[in-house]
Every structure is written in C-alpha cells, then in structure tokens.
C-alpha cells in the first residue's frame, strides 16, 4: 500500500470522476424511463437499461471496490463464478416463459 503522493491525488480525482459518471448514468436512465417509455420499443429501452447498469456495476467494482488495482488472478477468481449467474438467468427466464405458455397463472 506504499504509494507515492502523486498517485494519491489521482485516486481522489478518480473517485470524484466515478461519482460523476454514476450520477449522470442514473439521471440518463431515469430520464429515458420517464420520457421515452411508450415512444420507443420496450426492447430497445431494456437493452439500454441493462448496458447502463452493467456500466455502473463496472465502475463500482473497479474503482470503489478497488478491484482493477488487484492481482489478475484475484480478479479472475472473483469474476469467473459470475458465469454461473448468466447461465442461471438464461435458463430460468426460459423456464418462466414456459410457465407462461402453460398458463399456470
């Protein structure tokens, strides 16, 4: 953790830069939801929300949680298990669509 002062000042700057990015992205998301719902195909908006949320998640994990400054192998052990979540998401959304087609509800 022994870093020279020059790096310290950059880090504080980077924190505030990240704060601005996260705020702007949130404002843009909400503006899109309020102003564009009904005017654009919902699928376009949904893709936009997901991409923006992943952007926010990247900045929180990389800068606030400091992960981009850690060892490569630590990053890998943390990120690889997330592949299971993508698999679970896709499988269960397909499952949900199948419940719908069976008219369980």
């Amino acid at each position: 953790m022994a870093q020279e002062k020059g790096h310290d000042f950059d880090m504080v700057k980077e924190i505030w830069k990240t704060f601005r990015i996260l705020s702007v992205v949130t404002v843009v998301e909400v503006a899109a939801a309020v102003l564009l719902t009904g005017h654009l195909p919902q699928m376009v908006l949904n893709v936009f929300y997901i991409l923006m949320s992943l952007t926010k998640a990247f900045y929180i994990v990389a800068v606030f949680m400091h992960l981009k400054f850690e060892m490569k192998y630590l990053i890998i052990t943390i990120l690889i298990p997330m592949c299971f979540l993508i698999y679970a998401l896709l499988t269960l959304l397909a499952e949900g669509a199948s419940w719908h087609s069976m008219k369980v509800y």
Partner: protein
Amino acid sequence: MAEAATLPAPNVKENIWNGGFSPFKVSWGKLMMWYFLVGDSFSFASFLITYGALRFSYDSWPQPTKVFEAMPFLEGVKVPLGFVSFMTFTLIASSVTMVLAVHYGNHEKNRKKVAKWMFWTIIGGIIFLSSQAWEWTHLITEGMTMSGNPFGASAFGWLFFTITGFHGFHVFTGVVINCSVLSKVVKGDYDRKGSYEMIEKCGLYWHFVDLVWVFVFMAFYLL
C-alpha cells in the same frame, strides 16, 4: 501479510503457492470478504432471477413509472421515479464518502478525515433506510401486500417487499458495522494497530450494497 507480500518470490512459477508469500497480494481478511461477497451476490442473483422468471410467466407486469410516482411532503404531486432517484443518489454519494474514508485510512492514516467521511457514510445509509421506510409505508397504504396489489400481477408485491427488504437489511447491517467501526476509529484503535485495513473491509461490504442496488433499481424501477 504485508511483509510476506513484499518478499521476492524466488521462483515465481514453482513457489508462489508454497506458502510464505501471498499469491493474491491481499490479506486473509480482505480475501475472505471478497469471497463472502461473491457468495452474497449469488443470494441476490437468486432473488432477482426468480423475479425475472415469475415476471416472464405473467401476461403483463405493473408499469414502474405509474407505481413509483409519489413524493413525500408533496401530496397529489406525481413525479415518476423522482423519489427513487433521490434514494439511488444517496446510496451512490454514501459509497463515495466510504471510499474516501478508505483512501484516507490506507494512505494517510488520518484519523480525523476517516472519522469525518465514515460519519457521512452512516448519515447516507440512515437517509436511505428512512426513505425506504417511507416508500414501503406509502405502498402499503396504497394496498400492496405480500399476496396482492392494485397495480397488476399478484407476485409483484411480495417480490418487491422481499427483494428490497433483503437489500434494506444489508444496508441496515452496513450502518451497524460502520457505526461500530467508526467508534473504534474515534477511540484510536486502528492508530494503535497501525493499520486502517478494517475500514477497507467494511468499505467492500458497503460498496457491494450499492452494487446490488444498481440491479434492484434496474429490475424494479426501470425494466
């Protein structure tokens, strides 16, 4: 570990895993906090994936800009997603104050600055929890329960209460942990120990709560 990590690895390819050297260059506590958070992300993901699966099984789903449009102190004024934007902003801001506390702890060991920023983090957490309490109260008075709601699909209510409730419980736990760590900072425990790493571990947890909110916010308020 800090000492061990700075030792040169004699032959990196063969000996990095043989002990006496931290292959990830982090302390045990920080590594375990990371792995706890990996596990916790699976609990939240299970909730949100369940939400997705149930949502796909319904013909229609409540429109978020219609459900979440009330503001406290402004009876009858409709601001779609206004209040939740404020809550999101509070949580992001409290994440910033937390990361500043971590930074001043790790790099300057500056007790006053750490205490100041941790204090604002706790205030942010309390504002968020109060806002959530108000939002829940409002939705309950509108008739949203675990079994039904006036907005549409019956599963919407219980999914909203369980998922935002589980997240709110994490925020609450984070506030409690931050309070106890702040009291240790003020007492000077970490100065005596010579390391402010505990702030960093709490910070990881606190940012994780913010990270989860990004996806809860997306699932309930945007999609």
